[in-house]
Symmetry: C2
Subunit: 363 residues, 2 copies
Amino acid sequence: MLKRRDFLKVAGIGGAAALTTLSSGKVSHALVKWRMVTSWPPKFPILQEGAELFAKRVEEMSAGRMKIDVFAGGTLIPPLGGFDAISAGTVEMGSSASYYWPGKVPAAQFFTTVPYGFTFDEITAWLNGGGGLELWNEIYAPFNLVAIPMLNTGVQMGGWFRKEIKSVEDLKGLKMCVPGLGGKVMAKAGVSVVLLPGGERVPALEKGVVDAAEWVGPAHDLRLGFPKVAKYYYYPGWHEPGSQCELMINKKKWEELPKDLQAVIRAAAYEINNWSYAQFEMENAKALNEIRKQFPDVKFTRFPTDVLKVFRKLTNDVLAEEAAADKTGAFKKVYEAYLKFRKDMELWGDISARAYFKAEELR
Amino acid sequence: MLKRRDFLKVAGIGGAAALTTLSSGKVSHALVKWRMVTSWPPKFPILQEGAELFAKRVEEMSAGRMKIDVFAGGTLIPPLGGFDAISAGTVEMGSSASYYWPGKVPAAQFFTTVPYGFTFDEITAWLNGGGGLELWNEIYAPFNLVAIPMLNTGVQMGGWFRKEIKSVEDLKGLKMCVPGLGGKVMAKAGVSVVLLPGGERVPALEKGVVDAAEWVGPAHDLRLGFPKVAKYYYYPGWHEPGSQCELMINKKKWEELPKDLQAVIRAAAYEINNWSYAQFEMENAKALNEIRKQFPDVKFTRFPTDVLKVFRKLTNDVLAEEAAADKTGAFKKVYEAYLKFRKDMELWGDISARAYFKAEELR
């Protein structure tokens, strides 16, 4: 059926030119060249690495028919410029986290993480089976954006403290770097929230400008030098139990993309998502063992039960206030879907993973 | 660079013919047509569905350059004939579980699940970051097989019992359908293990031929009618805490495959792996709620603490015996790697996911 073949134009860019012809005539196209901006610093472990690995996979899987140039945060546009740039179509895609856009789409925070929210396995179930991804894309559509889950950090840590927290009283007036909804919850508990970029937190702790700061988890925290300037490493990361990052794509460009490349992008994102979670787990475990060895004076300390209970209660207050504040109704809609999913899964969760973990602890 | 293009032969099979040409000359090939056999019954929820969805994704992602015909268990070869057929190259690939081959590669059981083994998130970390997948492929290589993780069931259930188990004493002489290492552990606890195919377990329970039987989880168990014939539904599934199924490929055919199609297969498997876990979670949760509603006389019962402790101890005995019995040394090697990973992850696991789950339970 030679006459049914479409020979489309060859886009010769940077010396790489590809021509694909298919007798079906349904999928045939020239080289597609896209740009991806990320919110991660250059060479940032796992997250920036993962974005670059994703681009490599897409090129491999498409047999060179698609090439994505990756720009770390600040190298093409500012780290948090992705939402606007991708929405406008200035760049085609980005690797970021939906909770970086609370001023634009407050409801999108649920798709990264909220305090006392989902872990890696729970958000995987919600997004891929429980309607979460459909809802995310419904919320993003008015912004001309498409979201695909990519890069998950697993459970984060509660942060570094210069002094021990024995009760909720000890939080009052404490100066701490903790952004987002976790910060709002801690502010309600009396913490004086200070916002500083990641790189400025260790010096601020060292100089006593702040009393506490959270960052990511052992791997990233060790690298920045936190164990040298604070001695109480608090857990669990109740405020970020499994942050799901996003692959964000301009919706119009996505819809124009041939179906095969859409499928390639989607699958590559899932591969990298699994890879990133595995890397975080491994690297965090290694770094934690390293901190224990190198910094024997660092104490791994659990937040007191009363403090965790207060955080839990205040989380519900903060989420209710956010829902009331979002006049579009989107926050309320996603919050209700999130609560319904949690309720639907409750009995199963109790007798499956949670019951198993408890059984595993018996000796 | 037209003269560098390779025009390879077009394999016109079933009316679908594709020709891909690339100026790089590195990746160019004709239509690849493979067959996949599975261990799952036709239309088996999630697992057979997932294998078929995988084939669909590969066809989409390759823009029709690769087509995989999927044969459910028993439709081309017997459900457990995959290992030999793929090893010999009679068929190119299969969807199965490595613990179905204890007589051929006892060590491979670790890559599906062992009693008191890894959950979905833990095996994801082990395989993709902790060296598990490399070890799996090392163990499979002498059999001319390549493994890629695909399809994960999540935590299973402990099984259906016609009478309550109050202590280890109640297990003595109990006739139960429970295969694999879980069965060996229960046999050591005094259970009389009976091996029956999935479809024969409900009738056997109904007739009192057996006193207990395990199958998968609420979704599959409800479908087969277990709640009608047994009233105690035991948890947790200590014997299968997160069964990781496999995509098994003939090694020689895999190595002959163009790199782009290798990458496509790998990524599609990861996408389907996430999808399957999400489906299991959702469908199990739904079915459990349904069982509670439709069968109010069914009791969801936790194994007594003493019984779980005995299972744990006997699991260690069984694994040690299996290691001693495998004269190739492979079981011991994988067991040691599994224990090392568990030990390396222990501190991190305790203060991350496990600590978070406990914090979440506080009210």
